[in-house]
Symmetry: C2
Subunit: 482 residues, 2 copies
């Protein structure tokens, strides 16, 4: 039966409107499924098998618009459900309906963040977000922009540091006497080494500082590394500390690192891509005490804050630093005083020219959650990690590898030690074997990484919908898979 008050409206809809309406229905079903533990997290298939099912050929002639809804269902079916409470694999996960709505709007209004005049609303949103995030970090007079990911925010930090110490490089290039040296902990993210490679220093200029047992940078080791580099004729210019390391989620002691930085006049960059979100939590923000002493910060709302990829803020403590580092003042694009944008063009603060709107989804998310919602989210994830840690310690066969500082728990499982063999090697082998079985089964997705000499499970709590029962079930599943 067709209801009389619906049919005429439907008949008036264009194919585009019909497409979006039906897509929204499918989307709603899909997101509802994220609460269903019976649905698999992943349906892993090796590339050739998946390719045979999907038939991804690009046609010479176009297909009807409504046939794309079948493709949509197919894509959703074979994609990893990163919004599922048992997706524990990456530093992102869960989902945020307000942020998804934001992304939908970004697609509709398709524009670029280089000038205010083509992106007036998004530019004002970005400026407001950067202002608030800067204040949270303690930058009273800061500036910043969004970048497509933490690696590029880290690169921007490295480039700003380079420009500060070696301002001639932008125009004249590196000089033989520059010999820059930068410092990171042994557990820092690889994007910092890649930034050194990109920037022309080479990875040899990255000096790795030892960590303590929890994964935080050892400040005494930093101090002596700086002195040693100086003695070798190098010019230390940057220390990049980490708030929330990639594998164990550890926090470098920022206040102490800042002291060393100040003593030796080093730029302090903080890679808080993962851990920046603790600034919302009264309970946990002590982990980043000292962050206000940084010169630059990378902070990704697409990680612990649950906004879809990518959303990465690059924050600088001093206004003007980004434009001095990256500005090219292209006169075809930026009209200066010839229009009414009043200095609101963000293009020259970025490594990009055309830049997708990544601010809008965060603005929508922030409206729905508020500061207090992010605080609750962080506290919940840390609490789950603590709970899981306790289960690991209690349960036979499981070994906690690091004392968790945040929302990551690193552990291994070996029900019985090998007779006469190498226990660490056996734990490592078991981790990989069990993990691949879990992935093949698809009921949980949890990653592993080398840590303290062996492949180690890295559980990441990213989704507040994950329950203690989910975590218990994971341990059962690991036992069964072993």
């Amino acid at each position: 039966m067709t209801s009389p008050d619906i049919a005429p409206a439907a008949a008036l809809r264009s194919p585009v409107e019909e497409l979006l309406r039906k897509a929204a229905e499918i989307a709603g079903d899909y997101l509802r499924g994220n609460a269903d533990r019976e649905l698999p997290v992943a349906r892993f298939l090796p590339p050739d098998e998946l390719r045979a099912i999907l038939r991804l050929d690009l046609p010479t002639e176009g297909r009807p618009l409504d046939s794309l809804l079948g493709d949509m269902s197919q894509v959703l079916h074979h994609s990893v459900r990163t919004g599922h409470p048992r997706f524990l694999n990456q530093l992102y996960g869960g989902f945020d309906a307000a942020a998804i709505l934001g992304e939908w709007i970004v697609a509709l209004t398709n524009t670029s963040m280089y000038t205010y005049e083509v992106a007036p609303v998004a530019t004002l949103m970005e400026i407001e977000l950067i202002r608030r995030m800067s204040l949270l970090a303690g930058f009273e007079n800061g500036e910043g922009v969004f970048a497509p990911g933490g690696s590029l925010s880290n690169l921007m930090g490295v480039l700003a540091a380079r420009h500060h110490a070696f301002p001639h490089v932008k125009k004249e290039g590196l000089k033989p006497e520059d010999r820059p040296a930068m410092f990171v902990s042994t557990e820092a993210h690889y994007s910092l080494e890649r930034a050194a490679a990109i920037a022309g220093f080479g990875t040899d200029s990255v000096i790795k500082v030892a960590t303590d047992g929890d994964g935080g940078m050892r400040v005494d080791a930093l101090e002596s590394a700086v002195r040693k580099a100086q003695a070798a004729g190098r010019r230390p210019f940057l220390v990049a500390a980490t708030s929330g390391t990639t594998v164990p989620g550890a926090f470098d002691p920022l206040s102490e690192v800042a002291d060393v930085a100040e003593r030796h006049r080093l730029w302090l960059h903080v890679d808080a891509a993962y851990g920046g979100a603790v600034l919302f939590s009264r309970k946990h923000r002590h982990l980043v005490d000292g962050i206000s002493g940084a010169d630059s910060i990378a902070w990704n709302p697409h990680k612990m804050m649950g906004v879809p990829l990518s959303c990465s803020a690059t924050l600088l403590s001093r206004k003007g630093a980004l434009e001095e580092t990256l500005g090219m003042h292209a006169d075809y694009l930026f009209h200066g005083a010839d229009d009414d944008s009043c200095g609101h063009d963000l293009g020259d603060l970025s490594v990009q020219c055309g830049r997708r709107v990544d601010a809008l989804k965060l603005w929508f998310s922030w409206q729905a959650l508020g500061d207090s919602g992010y605080e609750a989210r962080v506290d919940r994830l840390f609490h789950l990690a603590r709970t899981f840690r306790d289960r690991i310690v209690e349960r036979p066969g499981f070994r906690l590898v690091r004392e968790p500082q945040s929302a990551n728990v690193c552990f291994r499982y070996l029900p019985s030690a090998p007779t006469g063999g190498d226990r660490l090697a056996a734990e490592s082998e078991a981790t990989v074997r069990i993990r691949n079985r879990l992935l093949a089964k698809g009921r949980f997705m949890i990653n592993y990484a080398p840590l303290d000499g062996a492949a180690t499970f890295r559980l990441v709590l990213s989704n507040p919908q994950t329950s203690v029962e989910d975590l218990e079930a994971l341990l059962d599943e690991i036992e069964a898979a072993a």
Copy 2:
């Protein structure tokens, strides 16, 4: 009246499903408006006025989900309608419903392109798209990835060229004897200079080669610039040619540039961010004859192909080049032979780590349009540009500044020459004045840029829905505004 067969279903919907369903209705209305010439393209307001209207404050406590629909309508109302047929302001414009659907799916399935296991469908789509785009460009054995914009694709080309010529830089940094020199035309995009700054050479290493009257690089000037740099003790390593320059949309003569590159063993990068799309057109692909001789190409489907920002392919002629240049082999992320991804992890081919899925929207767009749809699009845009050029030449007071080669038309308007004054200065002043009046009025949006000594209107045809009547109306509007 509530219809009985609709109400029960609606009652079962969760708030999230309701939100998405209503958002789709608003989205449908909005996109229908893109065909309505009575709706303004832009409602320009200076930042402070717009800020006062929008009240963008970030709340401490979250707001109800359904209240965000009001914000959605507000955002749409104040954003520039880049999908409007009278938006002629940037190298992007129009809209593609299939690609928008693709973006909606990307938001739902939120994942990162670094590993096959978390992005299996998107990874296979990207590989297929890169394969087809490479074949169109004549790379039989190429490789590539998507990057967030043409500037970063250009940076990747520069870095790959650097690694080819100076392979020690990645590890050891630039050496005093390196003295690199790269060559671009005077009308090349500024991102190439910025790439030189980022890469540590400095902008002084970028040697600008003169163009001919149409804006194409002069090959004789390139040859002598290379010889001069060699004589000065520099090491020429890269020429970056442009297919579709930013302002007049000009094409460098690739075959001849390739000859010079081969003779002097320079890496040939082609910035085809804008013009790559001509590869679909039997009629216009001659503009990029010789592109198969390139070593790397930047090509943005978010420009002439109509896909939402950002979607930028970085194509390399040789498999392995990107990983050699950028690979860091992070063992926490890439498991090598320990899983069944069979070498399908794309993360080490990128300057990013976490990377948003930009391939999916292009895959959906390609399904709806096919090769033939892109061909028709390119041909239509070029035809419109030609038609507009003819109108400019015919109409009194208008002056064609460059003979258009593609979808851009550069012109000025001055109804009567100044008595005893500088005509060029008067044209320049008129361009800025008229343009700002047009923007304030909001019925058209067209940009200007300095070209051949004066501010010049740059009309960009990006939307196949733009009609000849729209273009006539623009000329009338310019006359009225002057």
